[in-house]
Point group: C2
Chain length 334, copies 2
Amino acid sequence: MKKQDVVLTGDRPTGPLHLGHYVGSLLNRIKLQDVYKQYVMIADVQALTDNAANPQKVRDNVLEVALDYLAVGIDPQKTTVFIQSMIPEIAELTVFYLNLVTVNRLKRNPTVKTEIQQKGFGESIPAGFFVYPVSQAADITIVKANLVPVGNDQLPMIEQTNEIVRTFNRTYSTDVFCEAKALIPKVSRLVGLDGQAKMSKSLNNAIFLGDDVDTLKKRVMSMYTDPGHIRVEDPGKVEGNAVFTYLDAFDPDVVKVQELKDHYQAGGLGDVKIKKYLFEVLNAMLEPIRKRRLELGQDKAEVMRMLLAGTEKTREVAQQTMRHVKQALKLDYQ
Amino acid sequence: MKKQDVVLTGDRPTGPLHLGHYVGSLLNRIKLQDVYKQYVMIADVQALTDNAANPQKVRDNVLEVALDYLAVGIDPQKTTVFIQSMIPEIAELTVFYLNLVTVNRLKRNPTVKTEIQQKGFGESIPAGFFVYPVSQAADITIVKANLVPVGNDQLPMIEQTNEIVRTFNRTYSTDVFCEAKALIPKVSRLVGLDGQAKMSKSLNNAIFLGDDVDTLKKRVMSMYTDPGHIRVEDPGKVEGNAVFTYLDAFDPDVVKVQELKDHYQAGGLGDVKIKKYLFEVLNAMLEPIRKRRLELGQDKAEVMRMLLAGTEKTREVAQQTMRHVKQALKLDYQ
């Protein structure tokens, strides 16, 4: 018997998913689906907020992301996967929420501030991007989610959602919505192949779940290690060495990893060797995922049917939520 | 046979309609409904943008406004009247449009600037109010309206809509939408009873279409004339004299009005006399409207049925528009 709590997470379909997603969220979802009622949203509308001119990319990646979900073990029997744009109730709720948030409050949102800088919008932020904390509040509350797995950097989004929930309930003297709690995962972020802060498609430092063996090998062999570790016999650094970070994250044989670390630090263990070992570890993990992904990819229509079924289930819940919202807003004409 | 052009107008249901609406827009709509395909929107969602905490007022006035429409002669057989909140496609389209407009562009909208000052929002503009030119673009384009009767002060709204239309068509290489043209009515604004710039419920200087005879008389007798016209025998001013402004607007007997003006300017015609005459003119005009309004008000369920029928008709058009939009955005999953 699952708990009553409702979990919502999701991904923007701007590219296939990579190892960073795997440790940062997918593994967590596979656990959560046995404990809670879980929704996973493919956020195509949100992806368009900064890809307005590139809808085909977004469209294509909806299916890629769905393939990744199924391949890693997100089970449509346990998790409701849905497509955001097919739930118009989210847009409706967003429009009502926009009345409850001031422009100044949105300007102060630290996550938006940071992302505006990162994306280099400068003075011309699309309004859709500016208000996306409000549509995120609609995403979360349309299915009445009370648990939201997010990284630390996304905490202001949960705060904004809860502010809106409180304002809504107070303004309309209702208890339609409940506040959401952040579920901070233990491993929230994987460094990139280059040792940089974050694995990301746009930084070209990622290993994708669907990469073939050759690509995987090439990418692992290119990884960042210890730049001071020139000759095999030199002692090498383990901290900040991406290869060891990945071994810590992915190799279940912790004793073996510790031995390798000791050897590397003492000197006499070459980068090529540890990379080859990491390749074996990753390949053992990714091979069944890759295989399953290829199989599922044979029948994309079936994957789409799964998405449409999850979307329909979500839509029923969304419609019920909007009935309650419209009662509260006195917009329940009949 | 009507022309192909599609007209959209509407009102925010924040109070019953008054004489300002009558000359400014209702009379025009009665003419337009014979020439064009006409939609009239009761903008309950937009009314909530600055009445978020007062939904019951908005709800109640939806029916009051509908009564006013029917009473003056807007014919549901010729004009499709609909309730904005019941067309969720408008919210969907708004969300997509928000990606095509920058925050800075919205800040520069002169109409928004002015209204923000008038409403005294200061630093805390609700985001919903800030983005309302974008939802207005969605209102207009969801029914593919190409003619929009607006006052001069609303021209920037049409410009904003057309900018969005051009950006949408260019970005998604489509011709889903056409640009809209403003139809500037001859009499666009009626001064208030106090002679102030604008008749408005909130300024308490209005005559409502549903006012009973006593209220009408009281309001006319309180009107602003010429403050320099103290004794009956004094010459009086006609310019800026609200009573004569109203006679010009409402008395079909232009010869009689000219005689009164001459007499008043020469001296010897008292304010009470011209007010009583204006009362007769207005009452003759308003009596059938008032009577019809009372009759219709007996069966509010029937009025609501008319609104729901118009809304359903609009919804079909809106759904078709959104099918085209989603094709253009590559969000037409199946």
